[in-house]
Point group: C2
Chain length 355, copies 2
């Protein structure tokens, strides 16, 4: 049985990795040595998951591994990139063989799924904290930015949204039955399959790598939905407003939001927007496309059989709204939500670790 | 005052970074976008520091930032690489403006010192855990490996060793005066300047980037001293033994070890080896050079005024030793230590988080 740091790396993380020609040296030296293919730029992202914050302390280590990989790959997907290499920083409170076996098996399985080679990392002792740094490629100058949206662009998202938040609610309610009754959810009418679907959307998201790649040369901006649509759309609006020198806002049609049947069954009408717009953790892609590229978008998405939904438009902030922003000292434009074309008011907030 | 995650990134970590032409997009999108220069390979390393394990809970945040950068850059240095880009995963228990100001100021200062651009990261809530992923370049095929040592190669290390362990001991003893007396150290005879030197060697190490680069095309293997010479030399021996298909060992002359005057003043003769060989945290480079390259080594190190010391030789394991290894079921050859050319026995152990 391995008992030391070096054995831990050897037993659980070395020699199980995807073999890639561009990995000259993987785990086992001071650094990994890697070759970036000619004509490609590198895209790099880092995400941390903390026990008790991002997952329950007794979470299945396979779920933890699955999500750790997906949330990172999702950032590469949002750039239209091809994931390639991962480094894992693993801080663990103790040497738990069973946990490590289940975690590393699922980690390798997920990295294989996306064709990613584990090239290195660090193992340390402390409260359970997992940081994955993912690297991938994009063709030179072809990355999908956050800052490319313009007034008039159409807003889309992939897949369905709000499921992950519903899945989390189901898990929390399972530990606290009183809570379920007070929140206007309808757990009792869900089938086991629907429950399983929602929980899997929270625990085992899929990164939209093919969708991101299909959007290269088509979308004007793109972001992955980690904090919730309302919050992530503001990142696109802020970055794009700065880039084009115009204050941009978005008009979102609530009835157009892509909701799964399971979510519609589970949540009352009044709560849909909270789940769909502020739930977070969906790891779908939110993107904008100019009207001229609409046909091209529909063609490429159909070719690859990729689900996507038109949910609104980018717009310039009106003179009235600008005045309001200044008067109320808002830092950013509010998104306009429409319920069947009627402007409506919503109070939503994304996830923020330090608030 | 910034109070949220996005403000935290904006206030402390954006727009203070080294500007580099190869950073197309830094902090602020789903991924950083980077260009690797033609003819270069990428070298990547990740290191984590945990509060209470790698640094005292009340450590000066500037010291923490300094060391976090140095230990990562040191891995790039050990490959003969040029550091370029860093991603920071910062897990903090609360939003402490004073801590963040001091930490981020020193982090940026250190990254500037090495010419490294901060390209992204993640901020999360939890026990203080800091992970830095560093990327750098090496000329195609020129990285210094661990596995290139051969029997007959000369063993060298840069700078002086054991100082960091002595610095740590001084800090620990300052909190526990009884301890100082029991351990045969001579704190009373140290000047303030010597104490400061030893403590700085622990808290504020310097990564040997110039030394690593000077060793390209000269050294046959290289590693940085993080766990202690005895432990890190075994990594070279194990990797090189596998690579050349011969069981290699090392003969180390204890009287040749480069010890600072401060360390010699502080530690009794009997304790030198423990500090110098098992102390760890020195972040000097340990490397091997073939006898044919010795003149070239001396020339290039003199040209750049880089301190280095010849401390031993790589050797094949003798038939007697091989028999002993098999009988005692050792996993690896023991290093042979000589005290003024007399073979001697030492009981040493490197740092291992899970033992």
């Amino acid at each position: 049985m391995a008992t030391g740091e070096f054995d831990l790396i050897g037993q659980y993380f070395t020699n199980k990795s995807v073999s890639r020609d561009d990995v000259i040296t993987g785990i086992g030296d001071d650094c990994a040595i890697l070759s970036v293919p000619a004509g490609k730029q590198l895209v790099v992202t880092t995400d941390t998951m903390v026990s008790g914050i991002h997952f329950l302390c007794d979470a299945n280590p396979a779920d933890v591994a699955h999500k750790l990989v997906a949330v990172n790959i999702s950032d590469i997907a949002a750039m239209g990139g091809q994931p390639a290499w991962a480094s894992l920083a693993l801080t663990l409170p103790n040497y738990d063989c069973e946990w490590l076996t289940v975690f590393s098996d699922c980690l390798h399985q997920q990295l294989h799924r996306y064709g990613v080679s584990l090239i290195g990392g660090d193992t340390t002792k402390g409260n359970m904290t997992l940081t994955l740094t993912l690297q991938g490629f994009v063709d030179q100058g072809k990355a999908l930015p956050r800052h490319g949206a313009k007034a008039g662009d159409l807003i889309y998202c992939s897949g369905s949204i709000g499921d992950a938040a519903a899945g989390l609610k189901l898990l929390i309610d399972a530990n606290n039955p009183d809570n379920a009754i007070s929140e206007n959810t309808n757990e009792v009418v869900l089938t086991d399959s629907e429950k399983g679907f929602l929980i899997a959307r929270h625990q085992r998201p899929t990164a939209r790598v093919s969708t991101g790649q299909a959007l290269v040369d088509v979308a004007s901006s793109c972001i992955d939905l980690s904090d919730g649509l309302a919050s992530d759309l503001k990142h696109i609006l802020n970055a794009s407003s700065r880039a084009c020198g115009t204050n941009l806002t978005a008009n979102i049609e609530l009835t157009a939001l892509p909701l799964s049947t399971a979510l519609q069954t589970y949540v009352s009408n009044a709560l849909w927007p909270q789940y769909a717009l502020a739930g977070g953790d969906d790891y779908e892609l939110l993107f904008t496309v100019s009207p001229e590229n609409r046909a091209q978008l529909e063609k490429v998405m159909a070719e690859h059989d990729l689900p996507f939904t038109h949910i609104g438009e980018i717009a310039s902030v009106s003179a009235d709204q600008l005045k309001q922003i200044e008067q109320q000292k808002q830092r950013e434009p509010q998104i306009n939500y429409f319920n069947d074309k009627q402007l409506t008011t919503l109070a939503l907030q994304g996830w923020d670790h330090f608030q």
